[in-house]
């Protein structure tokens, strides 16, 4: 076996080690070809800026703040999966402008996203950020927090533990999936572990609701002043829910709790903010269908590849990425459903 140690280094791991974060392996002065290609104008940009930024088209997140309620703004991501085209801008972020500063909920997928978001928030609100809440530890929600003062960044203790456990793996995977958009991005631990059940900023009181199911710890936030519920990824709308760390039973419990609580508007982690409970109902419906589909497939003796090809019901065809997320969910959950169904056979005792 020792003779068969791997000779190939590679994958995201190798690539990331080869390219130090935040730097590009281009030295000043530029080589002649590049200098002549760039011409005189680029040379005028100045030595401080010149490495790579001047060579590649600059990456730029086109973020817009959309007012959805008094003092309350949504920054919508695309209803897509991570790609080099979208730079990981697939998630919803929200912020609430209060007299004590701005409260930001989730931060996007990269340092650059976080910087762009911070500039947008400050330009819109014309005041500093007082609090940044992270709803859970998934990469599209947390990595932008690097752009904010860590002392203002807060989440539940278990979310912090999950970030520490999975953060490095997430970063590597994100470099692989979106590439250069991640430049300089590193995991920064939130400065505050939330123990309180609510926090007040100006006239806004934020109820901090502990839930679980999408991950082992999900923070749902209700702005009691406006009645807007920030559901994080407990609720999706018109975009298929994701399940890499899901516990479907706990998730249903959380959704049922939301079904029975009152709020004026729900802002999901992915998809449009709406009045009413369509996001709760659709997420419940999708997860019920997913579970039924997985169980049926196991009962019928299907392989994972066959389960991934199950038909999407008519009513869920408008849900973006349902086909792709079914494939991912089979990878996440199928073995768990097989285990109790396949009977133990043979003479093992």
């Amino acid at each position: 076996m020792t003779a068969r140690k791997p000779t190939i280094v590679g994958g995201a791991r190798g690539l990331r080690r080869a390219l130090p974060l935040g730097h590009w392996p281009v030295q000043w002065p530029l080589d002649l070809d590049r200098r002549s290609f760039l011409g005189q104008s680029a040379a005028l940009v100045g030595a401080a800026l010149l490495p790579a930024e001047a060579l590649a088209a600059p990456l730029h997140y086109d973020l817009k703040a959309v007012q959805i309620a008094p003092d309350t703004y949504a920054v919508y991501g695309t209803r897509e999966y991570f790609s080099r085209a979208n730079g990981g801008n697939i998630v919803n972020v929200a912020f609430v402008v209060t007299d004590d500063g701005v409260v930001v909920i989730d931060t996007g997928s990269s340092l650059l996203y976080g910087q762009t978001l911070k500039a947008l928030v400050e330009a819109t609100a014309k005041r500093p950020v007082a609090r940044v809440y992270l709803t859970h530890h998934h990469p599209d929600h947390i990595f932008g927090s690097q752009a904010f003062d860590p002392a203002t960044v807060a989440t539940l203790p278990k979310v912090i533990a999950n970030m520490k456990a999975d953060g490095e793996m997430f970063a590597e995977n994100m470099y692989r999936l979106v590439g250069d958009w991640m430049r300089g991005t590193e995991l920064v631990a939130p400065g505050k572990a939330l123990e309180e059940s609510s926090e007040r900023f100006g006239s806004h009181e934020f109820e901090l609701i502990r839930m679980a199911g999408h991950t082992s710890s999900d923070l749902v936030i209700l702005d009691k002043t406006t009645g807007v519920l920030f559901a994080g990824d407990i609720a999706f709308l018109d975009r298929a829910p994701t399940t890499p760390h899901a516990d479907l039973d706990l998730w249903h419990k959380s959704l049922n709790q939301l079904e029975n609580s009152s709020f004026t508007m729900l802002m999901p982690g992915h998809g449009p903010a709406e009045k009413g409970k369509r996001a709760v109902e659709q997420t419940n419906d999708y997860l019920n269908w997913l579970e039924r589909t997985l169980k049926d497939a196991v009962h019928e003796g299907l392989t994972m590849n066959e389960a991934m090809a199950a038909p999407i019901p008519e009513r869920l065809r408008g849900v973006a990425l349902a086909r792709d997320e079914l494939g991912r969910s089979v990878a996440h959950l199928y073995a768990k459903y097989e285990e109790p169904f396949l009977p133990v056979v043979g003479d093992h005792s």
Partner: protein
Amino acid sequence: MRILLAAAAALWLGLGAAIAAQPPADPLKSVMWERMYEQFFAGKRVVFDGKVSVIAPKVAEDQTAIPVTVDAGNLPGVREIVVIADLNPIQKVLSYEPVRAKPYISFRFKAEQGTPVRAAALTEDGVWHMGGIYVDAAGGGCSTPALAHGNPEWITRLAEVRGKIWHQEGRSSARLRLRVVHPMDTGLADGIPAFYVEKLDIRDSSGAVIGKVHIHEPVAENPTLTLEPNLRPADDRVIIKGRDNEGNEINAVVPVGVRQSALDVEADRSVR
């Protein structure tokens, strides 16, 4: 001069036949293809004729358990199926002799990085028919410790077998799904020596071989196989016998049960 040329040509042709097959151009354009050919098929005739289908996700969600289905049902008399992942530190994933079974196997494997996954089916004429697909994956599937190492309970369940047989109405083959509790350590994770299932034989109650699976390190933790044995009316059970590289034995008996199908519709909607 003309005679010399003719002699040279004859010699050339003769040599060509003696040298036999060269690796054909690889539709997957893998940088490792020539090495794979030399290592696993040297001197053999390999053809990419579209008769072996390899089904796997284009992008692996979990690099420690990538589902792969190989179906060589378009070929008569398949003796053996070999599965290789070019860019894995250990390239051979498994081989399968479907003695009295459809040339079909489904399993999960670990990839150290994105890699071509290819399957070749050997027919009676000595030709290897090859198909494949490129699977993109995050790094580290082969060098990450098995989940079992986070749970000391696993040793008490080592070699436990779960399994079930489904009859497939209107088809000559049944479907057998098997799972063996085993960490399947590749030896590439720090401080964890190689420890993996090597062999699983499936026999009927008279002891006649239905199929033989030769398993290698890259097969995923708790190997989960789907096979399609051709059962006879008299078969009331299949017998599983295997071992790992430390000599631990794997034994199980899977009852055939009532001949009722739940699979006919689903199987047809799925594989191809």
